[in-house]
Amino acid sequence: MSISFRLLIAALIIFILAPIVVVVFASFSATGVAEFPPSEWSTKWYPHALSQRLFTESAVTSAWLALVSTSIGVPFALGAALVLVRTRFPGRDAIQTFLLTPLIVPSIVIGLSILLAFSAAGIREVPMRLIGAHVLVTFPYLVRTIMASLTRIDRSVEEAALTLGAGHFMTFWKITVPLIRPGIIAGMLFAFIVSFDNVSVSLFLTNVKLNTLPLAILNYVEYNYDPSVAAISTMLIAFSLLAAVVLERLVGLRRVVGG
């Protein structure tokens, strides 16, 4: 690798990391306004942020929402991936593309469409609306990662199980599922993150009483510019890093991200 190429890579990494670093520094400023670099240092905004029910309640809502919508999506995504990878039928490619549309259509459009659809169907409960919408936006991530790991399975491994006396269900449960487990975990992680930081779809569906964390942050910075938002953001960054480390220990991050 030449020196100039190394410099280019370094510049890119700095470009990507700089905003994150700024937020982390800003969260430690002692003044009432988030500033970079801080003129005085303090950790007081962390307890301050955690004492605000706006943040804590919406964080719980977001985590709960991400978990429930991801868990609901997994069995459906598994079924869809199995059909799409293992069978050949007319219209298969069309269905595959259709399942991935939430990745392609602008999410603000999806938010609006879901709002209109729920209204037309008479679904008014906010939790129901949120779960339904988040299952929809996270589904393509689950299907895609599970499909990727299904495609990589050597079919003769499953055939070997069949010849050894395992029925179709046993073969699926004892062989197929363990082999695609990294794909399922990766898909769930992606889906969780996508749901957790979704703004554009939730925007249409929440109300004053039930808010998600990204929307709470958005609301907060409209009227306040103190470093507690930076403190929340720093905690989210730390949380993501922790998740990455745990995943690395559990299944090997490279295997998961590499698909």
Partner: protein
Amino acid sequence: MADLQLRNLYKSFGAATAAVDDVSLDLRSGEFVTLLGPSGCGKTTTLRIVAGLEKPDRGEVHLGGAHVTALPPFRRNIGMVFQSHALFPHMTVAENVAFGLRMRKVDARERRERVKSTLDLVRLGDFLQRYPHQLSGGQQQRVALARALVVSPDILLLDEPFGALDRKLRETLQEELRVLTREIGITSLFVTHDQEEALILSDRICVMNTGKIEQVGTPQEVFEHPATHFVADFMGVGNFMPATIESTAGGETIASADGVQIVAQGYDFSAGDKVNAAIRAEKIELLTEDPGDQANVAAGHLVHAIYQGANSNYRVNCSAASHDLTVRAGNAGAAQLGALEPGQAVWLRWPASAVRLLARD
């Protein structure tokens, strides 16, 4: 251990020609039979039909006297070894081998004993707790063999199990497999495209081409007496001379190919029949002086000589043959042949016993 009968199997995947076209074959209990042929000849499809992994369009499979054509693989008592090993990567060697016993609800103690004794049989008794990725290619294939054998299957099915291994390892494993299958007396159906492998392993060889059986016979029969042009070619005969039958008398058949008189022993042709005279390269003698007017001698010019270690191959251009003829001679006692120049006039001579006459259409 059981006998296997295949009755008029037919299977098409929608292509112009059927993958398996009217295949009937009987395996006696304890017999080792190889399906041999080039890729796409239907040998693997036939094996997969026996395993129940493919359903034949027509025809029947009988295993140990039972009609199993309609049964799925997990209801047939079989053991199968795949080219890709197909070990379960998330299970240890012991768990891999125990899988079939677990599915058969064998209790834990007996399971442990049978896993251990079968792995001892393939000399991997010390590798119980390893994972497949920690093993070499040869060890993986031995585990696959143990996994197939531990359930005491009626028949052992092997789909090019040594295809992915290097030559030396392949030879070792071929020998081991030969000894092992004879020792436990298991009926085995083996698939390969490697004629040498088929010759080494088999009690009988079934040569297949375009979905059909060309010849079934012992290794000697198939090698020495190929029944068709395809079998002769596939078994590496190498030299074919188009000829016409002149006469048959007293157990001798005389044919002529562009002035070369060919004498063969036996055969039931009549005068005027078109045949191919097939002669193995190693049965031909290369002469540098004209032996005079004789039968089974052809004159030609040396095209080139290729040194191959123990042997040399000499390509000779003869007017009697459709292609150049090949002579293979050992290098040990052939010092005088080393000095041959391309373009030099040479004579080929072969004994009548080396000539195979094959009908030509």
